[in-house]
Subunit: 352 residues, 2 copies
């Protein structure tokens, strides 16, 4: 399988549309489904796995949503190709470990379905910015098409049945990827995380966990999938996102009042280092991108788009760098190539 | 007294002439002299101080060396004006504390005489780069002119008499200001410092002490002034300077072999931060200037002159910043103004 076309491209959900203030990178909706009459993937036979794939592909190819999509079975893909798909959020780390699964996704990577992951089907839509409702509409429409053809495991009382009970019911997980640098800088993030936990929202870093999330990027998602309808789940996540944006905005204002020079210093140093470093760890790059993203939200750096920052974040992931190099890379080489790539892109960027 | 003309100017010894490889910033020669028939400054009366000043000024004004120089008595100068002269190495911190002294220096600040410091006269010549012999020639010629007019305390056996016995004899102290970043980075500086101590050379940081010298700039000087002739003292310092340059060069080569990417990273990050920081402590600025200076020596950054780096070092000293601002500055404001000044200068600098 050739994944080369992916490397240079930026998925549409990273395009930064509807991301006016640069705080919400993307909104993602995922639905878990299982075919009736087959064991869950944890105890399925190889032959049954193949049948599941066949049925799902046949249904998807007949759909308007993914009729023209390419299917990538895990089996023929090497380790780094699978990791590349993980880095693009097209498959989960679990699917990458399993030769019996695969993924089908459309050209702009906004809609996909993993087959034989923890459940037989994991439908996913990712849209840029706060477009959670659009993501829900896309995934729901695809779901309707599939349900018209496939017979899915469903219980009249419980709803959709899933391998893990936490997904049973709607099978719906919605999340936003949100940038909260001022809450981290003002050390309010712990308190916010506690509040979100009490409201039954889960928070993890896009890379890294808790308030040490790399690049101050947090993935906030619903925990309950049972006992609420899909619209309610989507609405409540959108509401909590709005509230988080307000909190972050307040923290940003406080920061600018108390330490404007230090904030500007942080932003401009980050911009300068992106264009100049010769060695750049992934961790440092995430911090620098976070500072520039904050500068963009605060209106300090104009002319820098969210999609540019998102592109740098994805294109500098280890397997993306490996793919661009065409060869395996030691950690030290990777840090040099990461710096080179960022510097080349920065040379083409408008000075803000 | 108006010191404004000094602020924007770069003293000739910072001009970077003869500083082909950027390692030796300057060479300085100092002579201690005392007038016969007066107590040393530590026990002198105010009236006698005035007489010393009068005699020295009269002799200096009749000299070719400092005939046209301006005399700055300490008395009328405020604290920050005195500190400004200290920052330019025109007076010692001790003279700045004493209302009874003063300094006379020429337009390019290469030749000066402090009056009523620890000794009645401290003649000083500073030349750029490794021009220690030229500095010695300049100060010696001025000394000859003064000795033709003034009667100085001299003992046929001991030589010139001075307030502190360590200066007795020739009264000569010669020093170089040398940049040794690779010896510091490779942790060989401690060993070098010990070796210099055994050879009776004193080493201190231009700011800060020992191997933690700010900006990796070390002032190396002779300790013995007695029992050697002046030419021998000058030659031995020049010889030890050449040896230090060799050691530093070896360390630079080793560094480039083992960690070229890291060195380039350090240099280019420093260059970028000089042009972008909004808050800059004196300590950090010295580190950044050191990295760029190293890059210049290694041929990584072209088009950056030593004098530009020297200028940034002097112009950003606290009293220079205060003078430019025209008002007292808190430490935090100073760090912001330092960053502003550096950024303005960098904007005018050619991108290397």
């Amino acid at each position: 399988m050739n994944l080369d076309p992916l490397i240079g491209a930026t998925p549409s959900w990273m395009g930064g549309g509807d991301d006016a203030d640069g705080m919400v990178v993307s909104s993602r909706v995922r639905l878990a489904r299982n075919l009736a009459g087959y064991p869950f993937p944890g105890r399925i036979e190889a032959e049954q796995q193949r049948q599941v794939i066949e049925q799902v592909l046949s249904a998807a190819r007949g759909s308007a949503s993914l009729g023209a999509a390419t299917y990538y079975p895990m089996g023929p893909l090497g380790h780094s190709e699978r990791r590349l798909l993980v880095e693009r959020h097209l498959i989960s780390p679990a699917l990458a470990e399993d030769d019996g699964g695969g993924v089908l996704f459309n050209g702009d990577e906004s809609l996909s379905v993993m087959i034989n992951e923890e459940d037989h089907l994991r439908l996913q839509a990712i849209h840029p910015g706060t477009r959670g409702r659009e993501a829900w509409a896309a995934v729901s429409s695809f779901d309707d098409e599939l349900l018209g053809v496939l017979s899915c495991a469903h219980d009249p009382d419980l709803g959709f049945l899933t391998a893990c009970p936490t997904n049973t019911g709607t099978g719906l997980r919605i999340s936003v990827l949100i940038h909260l640098p001022a809450l981290v800088l003002t050390e309010e993030m712990e308190r916010v995380l506690q509040g979100l936990g009490q409201l039954s929202f889960a928070v993890r870093g896009v890379y890294g966990e808790g308030s040490n999330a790399a690049g101050n990027l947090f993935q906030v998602s619903n925990q309950a999938t049972l006992g609420a309808d899909e619209g309610g789940i989507v609405d409540s996540l959108i509401a909590v996102t709005s509230r988080l944006i307000e909190c972050e905005r307040d923290a940003q204002e406080a920061l600018m009042e108390e330490a404007r020079a230090q904030v500007e210093d942080k932003v401009w140093r980050a911009w300068a280092l992106l264009g100049s470093a010769r060695v750049l760890s992934s961790q440092e790059l995430m911090s620098l991108l976070s500072a520039v993203r904050l500068g963009r939200t605060l209106g300090l750096v104009g002319g820098v788009s969210s999609s540019f920052l998102n592109h740098l974040m994805i294109a500098t992931q280890p397997s993306h760098l490996r793919a661009e190099a065409g060869t395996d890379l030691e950690a030290e080489e990777r840090d040099m190539r990461r710096a080179d790539l960022v510097r080349r892109r920065m040379a083409g960027a408008e000075k803000p």
